[in-house]
Symmetry: none
Subunit: 251 residues, 2 copies
DNA sequence: GGCTATCGTGCAAAAACGTGCAGAGTCAAG
DNA sequence: CTTGACTCTGCACGTTTTTGCACGATAGCC
């Protein structure tokens, strides 16, 4: 492995996992920790990351707020992202919702995959600049800063003009009775519109969302086609979803 | 094996494997490493690949490009950004072009300024998340990865529906005869459309752009209303612009 | 306050590098 | 056909870069 590839790898790890543990990387790559530490030092000098005891953290102070949440890119989210990324086939058109979990999907997409990604999240659009063979369509509109996605009438209109194979939806609550829900009314509308524009909708479910309900309901659980579930979710719960006719993929 | 065949082979390896290890290739082709190194050096000089210790990697212009440029936030760009940011008054609607200089404007906007920023750059949209009192409108469309801005028919249509007070335009060339120019045709169209949607257009001029001309012409210099100029630009040049009727702000 | 993991530095071996040079081959002019 | 200029390739040599190890210093945790 070439030295510059190693640095790319380190930055990739940082991006997908939100942190670097020097020891882990040295084990994975079968290199001495000294070498990894040297690389980290150089990357830190170049301002590409922030060096800390034991490893490194993302530098980017500008996006600190969003990145703050991003850093809790728990293993679960990474795994869900990887599982969902695998579901996108060559040539397909997929919609990625805003949110930290969907951002993981974008980052885990194979670098040589030829596909089209439609998104209303500028963050995801920027992340996909790294993927040369992916066509990116950004849906415009008013920026809702809390979630960093576009919403509103303009965004709704843009959605109406597209038609996708897949839609990966992020939510804040998945409840057997209350269905799928989120924290903002505009966002709920947007999610419904995106769902209507896609042939198949899959919900991304990390464990902490199961059984929770947020103020604004998107739709009943049965309205979506599938669920991409965290490994920590009990088999029994997943069986309930299957009974509703949902396809279940466990990360 | 002819030298040119060898170079084709090297580029083929690079394309299929994503990397070249000089030693491996020299073994495969039964040639000395010196020869391979020489070839790599020449291909690197021609910009066909990126030379690294031990071999070579793809040149990847799009990625390295923007990331590279982003770090060169020279003092000049910061100063231009600050000067331009001051021109935006409370309550106004301003269009920010894509590019590293306009990104500086976004970063330098006062945190308590109430205004609306319209942009086709997801990078700028994300940067403005930090500014709670700024309303952000993101223009959607196909993402042009080289500059990280949206372009195309959808973007043009979105532009047609807006009307702004100010437009800050980034360019790559400012030439007395050739006018304002940029490196991509779609972008040139987009800039013209944005100009048409704004009451006033100001060009951001850092010193290295003066006297330069890029392939795609946007418009004659006299079509814009003002110029925000780098401190390094000679007074005489600025006087010429004033003669054309442009308002000149020096950072 | 003590313990352990991590860190930085100096050092040496190995790998990769650039440069100069010589031999082999090519080509065109004479 | 011969000669000289030129290019290409491999080798030798000294230089630079990279890497792993040893050692003492330091930071974080209990």
């Amino acid at each position: 492995m070439l030295a510059s590839q190693r640095k790319d790898y380190l930055l990739h790890v940082l991006q997908t996992q939100g942190q670097i543990v020097a020891k882990d990387v040295s084990n994975e790559l079968r290199l001495s920790e000294d070498t990894i530490r040297r690389d980290l030092r150089e990357l830190a000098a170049a301002g590409r990351l922030q060096r800390v005891h034991g490893g490194a953290l993302p530098a980017s102070p500008a996006v600190a707020d969003f990145a703050g949440r991003q850093q809790i890119a728990s293993d679960a989210k990474v795994a869900i992202g990887r599982a969902a990324a695998k579901m996108i086939q060559r040539g397909q058109v997929a919609i990625l919702d805003g949110g930290t979990t969907t951002l993981q999907i974008a980052r885990q997409l194979p670098h040589d995959l030829r596909a089209t990604i439609i998104t209303h999240s500028p963050t995801i659009a920027v992340a996909l600049v790294e993927h040369p063979s992916i066509e990116v369509i950004l849906l415009g509109g008013r920026l809702f800063k809390h979630s960093v996605v576009t919403v509103g009438a303009a965004a709704m209109e843009a959605v109406a003009r597209i038609r996708a194979d897949l839609y990966f939806m992020g939510v804040t609550g998945i409840h057997p009775k209350a269905g799928l829900s989120t924290g903002d009314l505009e966002e709920a509308h947007m999610k419904r519109a995106l769902m209507a524009s896609a042939a198949e909708t899959h919900v991304l479910a990390s464990a902490e969302k199961i059984g929770a309900a947020s103020p604004y309901v998107i739709c009943p659980l049965a309205d979506v086609d599938g669920i991409v579930a965290d490994a920590a979710i009990p088999k029994k719960t997943l069986a309930d979803y299957r009974k509703l006719g949902l396809s279940v993929v466990q990360a």
